[in-house]
């Protein structure tokens, strides 16, 4: 990866971007393709008015820069949220408004060049889409939305990170039907192993129900949990077992991940369709999302948007656990966890979502030494791997040295021994950060701790 301040240098290498691009469609004049994609999106979606509104009202004051952890770490002007937003707004103004076309013809001349496209692609993928800048903007512009739109347009113009595209291709069209390409037999094996593990360690008989009809919940964790976050998954299962509700995992579709949020609305909608379809196949009443930030947000936000009449209520496992604790269905031993614990708010469920208090209440109910990060809650720093960057291995250096820098300093400052966070992406990024910065702490999921403290 080249953390180069000069995009022209990087464009000389094989790929102009710091991530690998999976070419979509035939290559050609990218500026023209970009404009066509932009026009098609303006024509068929709701974005035009907001782009127009932003381009009229943007004050270009630069207050967002103070809140952007990427800019604070890199110091590169291209990382200022407002600058990034204006890359897109300028294209809109120049090509899609009469006044802009007039001015462009008189003053500037058309300016959408190959370099500009490269610049945009690089900038939009250096953004973590954490939407922290939105809180600072005096006008209330949603820079995260523009990043979302910019990436959408780029992907329709054929520029999208290979890591995301390949995963989504496997999820939607591949044989396994999930982003991690886990075959169903492997999954079932794994579930059996987890059952044994739970029986061995906790002495309880928890079943992982698969394809059970008419369950209360259909469970969609991030699929990586099955392989990498077994403790979290066992924690989830134990809580569900303790609350006595019925739940199931769909055999035909069991992946909560939705990379569409990170780069393409079409993909976003198709994944939601698939997810809802599986829920209806099993006649489940509610969708239960596991410990995953963007999965929770996409399910909560876009199932009602895309599913229409087939829409289902969406519940996060954190909500469920918190409720169970309050109702006294879970017995948690407050003496189990003796280390100092802190909690990292994933952007998608804290700032862009609805889960600020439940995870804290869960942790505080059995953790003696709980400290908050500064800042935390809606103002928290992103882990540094947001907007799908953590899935792109080639961005490792960027994530460690730039985007995750603030986070690492923040973690070091709080002095916790355990960082709990309910997001698969955050956990991966934070673990890498802990390794990279040699921080004396351990990164776990919230339910890992819950499981450790649970008594039967």
């Amino acid at each position: 990866m080249a953390v180069s301040s000069d995009p022209k240098n990087s464009s000389k290498s094989e790929s102009p971007y710091f991530y690998h691009v999976e070419p979509i469609g035939e290559t050609g004049d990218r500026a023209e393709k970009f404009l066509k994609a932009f026009a098609a999106i303006l024509q068929n979606s709701n974005y035009r008015f907001i782009v127009e509104l932003f381009s009229i009202t943007s004050a270009k004051c630069g207050r967002c820069s103070a809140s952007c952890q990427v800019y604070q770490a890199s110091g590169e002007p291209r990382d200022i949220p407002c600058h990034r937003t204006h890359l897109l707004l300028d294209v809109y103004r120049q090509y899609f408004t009469p006044g802009g076309q007039f001015l462009t013809r008189i003053l500037e001349g058309e300016s959408l060049s190959e370099d500009k496209i490269d610049d945009m692609a690089e900038c939009f993928y250096r953004c973590l889409a954490c939407r922290r800048c939105t809180l600072e903007c005096p006008m209330g512009l949603d820079h995260g939305l523009i990043t979302h739109l910019g990436r959408y347009i780029l992907s329709e113009a054929g520029i999208a990170p290979k890591g995301l595209v390949v995963s989504v291709r496997e999820q939607l069209e591949g044989a396994s039907g999930n982003t991690s390409a886990i075959p169903l037999p492997a999954l079932l094996d794994n579930l059996e192993f987890l059952q044994d593990e739970l029986r061995d360690t906790k002495g309880i008989e928890v079943k992982f129900p698969v394809d059970q009809q008419d369950a209360e919940y259909i469970f969609y964790p991030a699929v990586s949990d099955y392989l990498m976050e077994a403790d979290t998954l066992m924690g989830n299962a134990a809580v569900l077992h303790a609350t006595g509700t019925t739940w199931t995992i769909g055999s035909q579709y069991f992946d909560g991940i939705n990379y569409g949020l990170f780069y393409n609305d079409w993909v976003l909608e198709r994944i939601i369709e698939k997810l809802v379809g599986e829920a209806h196949r099993l006649n489940a009443r509610k969708v239960l999302v596991g410990e995953c930030g963007h999965a929770a947000r996409t399910a909560r936000q876009f199932i009602p948007a895309f599913a229409g009449d087939k829409s289902l209520p969406v519940v996060s496992v954190l909500d469920l656990t918190n409720k169970a604790i309050k109702e006294g269905k879970l017995k948690l031993n407050p003496n189990t966890i003796t280390e100092r614990v802190t909690y990292h708010d994933p952007c998608n469920i804290a700032r862009s979502g609805w889960l600020l208090d439940p995870p804290r209440q869960i942790l505080k109910s059995f953790v003696k030494d709980f400290v908050e990060l500064t800042p935390h809650g809606k103002a928290n720093y992103c882990c540094g791997g947001g907007s799908g960057l953590v899935s792109l291995d080639e961005t490792y250096e960027f994530r460690m040295k730039i985007s995750g820098k603030s986070k690492a300093e923040q973690l070091r400052a709080c002095g916790a021994q355990i960082v709990a966070t309910p997001c698969a992406n955050c956990k991966k990024q934070l673990r890498e950060l802990v390794d990279f910065y040699k921080l004396p702490m351990q990164v776990v999921g919230v339910h890992d701790l819950v499981l450790r403290a649970m008594e039967f």
């Binding site: 026009a39 035009r48 076309q101």
Partner: protein, 599 residues
């Protein structure tokens, strides 16, 4: 014509319409007098002239209806609908324009209940009413054919209309014959106003024949415009036939007009070299005889340029006849000139602009133009980039039109509000001179009053308690040199010269009414009066001064001394000491008007 240009033209038309709407509102708010340039000497103006034009261009409606239905020339049917629509829009414009022109438009129904069959205007009102209804009926099949009206109810109406078309057509021909000629007859009663070269006892016949010619040629021009606008072929063969036949009505019109002028001995006036005579000759020769000659040549007639040129010339000639008759060459009495106001002009042009837009709307949405005639010039449709959006057409139109409307309103509104500011700007205030006693030319007449500034300052400061508020009483923004506040706010009689110059006293002392000419040599108005120093030598220019010195010692003192001198003198002479008392005269000051206004 590319899409861009078409959009611009449409937007331009919309802009005119928006401006006209603003002008219309202003015309109704401020009234006919302030909203138009009309006056007592010229009660009819541009709107009447335009109305005559609208109706002349609408002449194609009944002509084509007669050609198709009466003369059974079925091949003209493809352009019949356009002709009917043009007539409809022409008469519609006439009616809309009438609403602005009438002083009391809400009495427009009066001719229905109050008959006065001796009036040409009465006949016109009825003919327009009836013929417009007939046109609506004649045109409504085109609307009812639209899929929107596929309900059986409308189909029954449509069927009925098809059945009744012949009586309708005959009624329409009768009505428009009467109406077209009556419009000419309107001017028969005013030989004292119409220029002799345009006046004729045969005006009804002139109007009728020329309306046929103008209507036919309007169809030709319209054919060319439609071809350009909609990028579709036109019925050139039909238009060429119209061109071949138009010399008949046009020639008849010219013959009638010229022979009448000749018989009445007015024709030599056409050679007197006045601008009216040149206009008349142009109308006859360039716009009448020349196009007849052009159209007589088959080769010219069958060329696009030849036909179009002739058509435009003929239309120009006939419009010129209508407008000269009713506006340009209208003779006035004295004193007052007529020039159309901005609002009037905008309304006059806004109505045909709206008619054009309605025409385009009908042509775009109804089966008006008939079957497509392939046109080799057609090109692919291009959409401007900024139109890429999911916005509804309504939103796009609103966005574009409201932008235009903003500027149209902003430009028109201030231009048409009669702002008092424009008067003062023409005659800027002269700065006051001096300090303790300012010399102020308050009413900008060159007559200057000495204003005891310091005295005012001191008195007001005492009254109001602070120097700041004292200054603010007169100085609008508290600063010196700001003359926004006029003395007349306190001295209410400031601008009334009668209080300074007592007209009655002068009149009496000089010997009553006979004496007016002593001062007013030409007209009995103030402007023409003799200047004071003619009699009052004390006001004559002093030595070393080039002009007469109008400075008086002060507003009050300048005149008060005169009264005092006289009063004191008479008090002694007549032995009436009360004459010298202030209260003898100054009961006036007790009147509440001055008491309250004087600071």
């Amino acid at each position: 014509m590319n899409n861009m240009l078409r959009t611009w033209i449409k937007d331009g038309l919309w802009a005119i319409v928006f401006a006209a709407v603003v002008a219309a509102v202003i015309r109704f708010v401020v009234g006919l007098g302030a909203g138009s340039g009309l006056n007592d000497a010229t009660p009819w103006g541009m709107w009447i002239a335009f109305k005559l034009g609208f109706v002349a261009l609408a002449g194609g409606g009944f002509t084509l209806a007669a050609v198709v239905y009466i003369f059974h020339l079925e091949r003209f049917r493809p352009i019949l609908r356009r002709a009917i629509l043009m007539a409809l829009l022409g008469y519609g414009s006439f009616i809309v324009s009438l609403i602005f022109d009438l002083g009391l438009p809400w009495h427009i129904y009066m001719p229905i209940i109050s008959w006065q069959h001796h009036s040409v205007m009465f006949e016109i009102a009825w003919c327009v009413m009836l013929y417009f209804s007939v046109l609506v009926l004649e045109f409504s099949p085109v609307i009812l054919e639209h899929p929107l009206f596929k309900h059986k109810f409308f189909q029954v109406i449509l069927h009925g209309l098809h059945k009744a078309i012949l009586p309708l057509v005959i009624l329409g021909i009768v009505l428009s014959t009467l109406h077209q000629s009556s419009l000419g007859a309107l001017f028969l009663i005013m030989p004292h106003r119409v220029h002799p070269l345009w006046y004729s006892p045969w005006l009804p016949y002139l109007f009728f024949t020329s309306a046929i010619a103008a209507g036919m040629m309007a169809l030709v021009v319209e054919g060319f415009l439609v071809e350009r606008w909609f990028k579709r072929g036109m019925h050139f063969d039909l238009l060429e036939r119209l061109g071949a036949w138009v010399p008949l009505p046009l020639g008849l019109y010219l013959l009638l007009r010229l022979s009448d002028l000749f018989l009445r001995g007015v024709l030599p006036g056409a050679l007197d070299g006045s601008w009216q005579s040149i206009l008349f000759l142009t109308e006859i020769l360039v716009c009448g005889i020349l196009p007849i000659g052009l159209l007589a040549i088959k080769k010219v007639r069958e060329s696009r340029e030849g036909l179009l040129t002739s058509a435009i010339l003929i239309i120009a000639g006939i419009l010129s006849q209508r407008m000269s008759l009713s506006m340009f060459a209208m003779r006035q009495s004295t004193g007052l000139d007529y020039s159309p106001s901005l609002a009037e002009t905008l309304i006059a042009f806004g109505i045909p602009a709206a008619a054009l837009l309605i025409y385009l709307f009908f042509a775009e949405n109804l089966a008006l133009l008939g079957d497509e005639i392939p046109n080799p010039q057609a090109t692919a449709k291009l959409r401007p980039l900024w139109m890429f959006s999911q916005d509804t057409p309504g939103r796009i139109i609103f966005a574009r039109r409201s932008g235009l409307a903003t500027f149209a309103i902003a430009l028109i509104l201030p231009a048409m509000l009669n702002l008092p500011i424009s008067d003062t700007s023409a005659n800027a205030v002269q700065p006051a001179i001096g300090w303790e006693t300012l010399r102020i030319d308050g009413n900008q007449t060159g007559y200057i009053v000495d204003f005891p500034h310091v005295e005012h300052q001191e008195r007001l400061t005492e009254q109001l308690g602070s120097k700041e508020s004292a200054c603010a009483t007169c100085h609008h923004l508290n600063y010196p040199d700001d003359e926004a506040t006029s003395c007349s706010q306190c001295h209410t009689d400031y601008y009334q010269p009668i209080s300074i110059f007592n007209h009655t006293v002068h009149q009496k002392s000089l010997g009553g009414n006979v004496s007016c000419v002593e001062c007013h040599e030409t007209e009995h108005v103030r402007q023409s009066a003799a200047i004071c120093q003619d009699c009052h030598e004390t006001m004559t220019a002093q030595e070393g001064e080039s002009v007469f010195n109008p400075f008086a010692s002060s507003y009050k003192d300048a005149l008060h001394r005169r009264c005092l001198n006289c009063h004191e003198q008479k008090a002694v002479e007549l032995d009436k000491p009360e004459l010298a008392l202030c209260s003898t005269c100054h009961t006036y000051y007790e009147s509440d008007q001055l008491q309250t206004n004087l600071p």
